[in-house]
Subunit: 153 residues, 2 copies
Amino acid sequence: MPETNAAPELNGLYFQLFNEIGIINQLSRAAFEARLPDGMVLPQFAVINHLIRVEDGRTPLQLARAFQVPKTSMTHTLAGLEKRGLVEMRANPDDARSKQVWLTEAGRKFRDDAIASLAPDVGAFSDTLGREELTEVIALLERLRKRMDAARD
Amino acid sequence: MPETNAAPELNGLYFQLFNEIGIINQLSRAAFEARLPDGMVLPQFAVINHLIRVEDGRTPLQLARAFQVPKTSMTHTLAGLEKRGLVEMRANPDDARSKQVWLTEAGRKFRDDAIASLAPDVGAFSDTLGREELTEVIALLERLRKRMDAARD
DNA sequence: TCCTTTTGGTTCGATATCGCACCATTTAGT
DNA sequence: ACTAAATGGTGCGATATCGAACCAAAAGGA
């Protein structure tokens, strides 16, 4: 007899976790967008941040995968960033189908300014989790994210 | 000289955490919606689940607050659920402006079926975090959520 | 009681998100 | 080389999301 579910309550905990994650996502999104200029939206900021943290010159598809959004969504996000002059789309020398996303000077400055203007907000609750707890949570979530990603086939 | 930021790297960790949370949210959303019938969307399921976990008879505004979404979004979500016959909107006997959201039998059944059909997916990675790790993460995130919520004034 | 403010909810318009279909290139198979 | 399949990206239409403005009921003063 196949053991399909040895610990059903575990599922409930995962549901709870996803629920909590959804709410925090909501809260952080709202907080961010309240600070960002007019129509600037969280995904746009996230992309800029990613390009700085990792490296610019990524392709749109790489970005879509990194954030686990459909590529059409990324196209839209990048179009917004380009219209604001925060990124620059160039042809990919290695593949004529593909493009590369590069930060402009304005893009880098924008990110620095945004971080600075966001700092006070983060400061309002940054004492909630200690450094160890934070890194612990991040590590666990990262582990979960990679497993979920892998399970996605 | 005022100490505005005693530990700047902490902010970076929070950014990282929010980033990770955003991606997992994305992944769970996509996974859920792949299983749910046609146009059914994650927030709708989340509301049903909440009504069962907590108690139905909540008002739309209570739900909006619970999920930290604007009330207009909740109106829309509830309209979708009502159109599918999964919830029922009744007048609030205590307040003529307000309404109450009640689950229908179809709504309860729907939730049970959805959970069942989702179980295999969760099973694909449910061994990633142990029960202790899970409850630990949930507890920490819950703590953070409440603090962020409070900081929202 | 009358008037002001607050609160619960919806309507409306603007934008974001995403699936589907499509095109151009690249890769793989023969 | 030639064709078939896979890959990177976009256009389009349908829906989701959300802020602003609005309405009706309730709460709070005077």
